[in-house]
Amino acid sequence: MTAGTPPPATGSPTRRMTVKRAINETLREEMQRDPTVIILGCDVGVRGNPFGVTKGLYEEFGAERVLDTPISEAAIVGSSLGAAATGLRPIAEILFSDWITIGMDQLVNQIAKIRYMFGGAISVPLVIRAPVGAGGGQAAQHSQSFENWFSAVPGLQIVMPSTPADVKGLLRTAIRSDDPVLFFEHKRGYEIKGEVPVAEYTIPFGVADVVREGTDVTVVALSIMRHKAMAAAEELAAGGVDCEVIDPRTVYPFDYDAVLASLAKTGRLVVVHEANRRSNIGGEIVSQVVERGFDLLKVQPRIVAGLDVPMPYNRALEALVIPDVDRIKQAVLAAVGQ
């Protein structure tokens, strides 16, 4: 998979590392910088998280700041709110975002609303890290991507980067934000490598990354679909179809300006995401684009998404459900009428 570009702002020297390493470093650096930052969740401490994401942090910062919790997601999410409201900056982890459902009430009815319904009297500076996505035969309860659910909830911010540089800059922004952030890592994206600026930097929310410039079709691809979209774009370029690939990086706020600017060139839109097609972020993006730039569209927008089934265990069935490079290419070719 391609490495993705470092944030435009920085031209400083870089180091090559994985997404996992970028997360781990950012957590460490922010915890060193700010004593109010804590981490809590199942197996984040002594074990250093099952994917190794929090390795070494328990040893460096101790049990008081890297908290192994019982399996109590509602209390993990809810106590993060109470802690955030009284002076800490908690980073809670839900090992698979599928289980955020257990903390759903605290997240949607408390965390997202409390500042507003209390007239601004409380800030909620917290981050919930939760791996999303499918692959590897984890089946129906360990493969989902819920970003659109939370995009529908005013008060939340939703981030889903997939390159080491983006992860670092956006996680830093998330930890320093005074509002709640859902930080969705892709569990199949931890080993993706890329260059990361050495100098400290942040990436603002709501700024898309135009990963590849092109003139024929605008491909908006979320999370690791960005990398599949780039692969498709390279193959299509060989056939003379020139894609502009845009990674929004944050789902809310969403950089519609970047998409519209691109459509002004291409007039053709393909949206790619892994969540199943129905009532998810692809539909939202298309509807916003249609509202904001209907006349820019030369042809109907297309959505390449997961199929509308719970994720099946079987390898071949799973592969059928998850969008792949071919499905992206077909959609792009359809958009250009081939």
Partner: protein, 358 residues
């Protein structure tokens, strides 16, 4: 399974309370005459405030739902009398009493209930979300049990930052059957957090009697499973509540972890301002009034020599005057401007950056 409570059972509950729970009010070393008088004044203020709320709701000055703290005054006031400045409380859907007990401003409260810009929540919350964060009152919530982990999180802050405050988590008997109640108490117990879980067991959750929602009607018994102290106190007795909370707070500050306190009493009023109570026979409600926590507190003030009847009459008048003033203030207070709709949705920096509400 569920059966409709007969009036016999209802009256038996009165006898059971008298037999098992009622405890005489006795002098508490921590509470001198001034403290006792202050407690009485706040209890009376809550009573006056919520009595007025019911009328204002009927007159449509107050919108939406409103739940009265009448007959529970001893709990919030007894508990908060045991707290220090800097301590936090979390609340329920019945938050007026908690707010006043923690020192909330009746004017800003009433303004909030009337949806005014001068209200604690700038008109965005109303009765069900009344909050006085500046006083350490972390807000009412309309979702039963939902404040439990918030209290635990506040206690986590105290422990992590080495701050001396404790947090009292008020919740109803109905909340004890929410999953998050369990997760929260277990987490606080495992981590020895400075939090006090104070159950206002009024024996009803809307139409559900507690002893039909559970098999063992003792909330305090559940403490065993969590390995923490569990105590039951007379919830109509402000001093008993104070003493139980004071002891738990001392233990919590000393690193001894959480305590589960069951303040047992009875809701002898409607669940909310418009409850017809058709789900139960109310003919015994009058009998419960013999335990009216305010009457008992007044009696104790006199017995203990902390105050005389004249002072009590003055205090009562002062309370109703305060409420009248709050009502006038609220009625005169302006409605929020429509362009404040988005205010507070995110932090100001983010709102400006994103141009939200413009």
């Amino acid at each position: 399974m569920r059966h409709r409570i007969t009036s016999e059972e209802n009256c038996e509950a009165v006898a059971a309370f008298e037999r098992d729970t009622l405890t005489p009010m006795t002098v508490s070393p921590a509470l001198g005459p001034n403290e006792l008088r202050e407690m009485y004044a706040r209890m009376r203020l809550i009573r006056e405030f919520d009595s007025a709320v019911k009328e204002l709701w009927k007159q449509d000055f107050i919108y939406g739902l409103a739940h009265s703290y009448v007959c529970a005054e001893a709990i919030a006031v007894g508990a908060c009398a045991a707290l220090h400045e800097g301590d936090y409380i979390t609340s329920t859907h019945r938050g007026h009493g908690h707010t006043i007990a923690k020192g909330g401003d009746p004017r800003r409260m009433m303004a909030e209930l009337m949806g005014r810009a001068a209200g604690y929540n700038k008109g965005k919350g109303g009765s069900m979300h009344i909050a006085a964060v500046d006083m350490g009152m972390l807000g009412a919530t309309g979702i039963v049990g939902s404040a439990m982990p918030i209290a635990v999180g506040a206690a986590l802050t105290a422990k992590t930052l080495g701050q001396p405050f404790v947090t009292v988590c008020f919740h109803g008997d109905g909340a004890t059957n929410q999953g998050v109640w369990h997760e929260s108490i277990n987490l606080a117990a495992a981590w020895s957090l400075p939090v006090i879980f104070l159950c206002e067991n009024n024996q009803w959750a809307i139409s559900m009697p507690y002893d039909q929602a559970v098999r063992n009607p003792s909330v305090a018994d559940r403490a065993v499973g969590y390995g923490i102290p569990g105590v039951t106190v007379d919830g109509f007795n402000a001093i008993a509540v104070h003493d139980a909370v004071a002891e738990a707070a001392e233990r919590a500050r000393a690193g001894g972890g959480p305590t589960l306190i069951e303040a047992r009493f009875y809701r002898y009023i409607g669940h909310f301002v418009a409850d017809d109570e058709s789900y139960r026979d109310t003919d015994c409600n009058a009998q419960w009034e013999q335990f009216d926590p305010i009457t008992r507190m007044a009696g104790f003030l006199v017995e203990s020599g902390a105050a005389d009847r004249a002072w009590i009459d003055e205090a009562d008048e002062a309370a109703s005057a305060t409420v009248l003033d709050a009502i006038e203030f609220a009625k005169a207070a302006p409605q929020p401007e429509l362009d404040t709709l988005y205010d507070g949705l995110y932090s100001d920096a983010f709102m400006q950056q994103q141009g939200i509400g413009r």
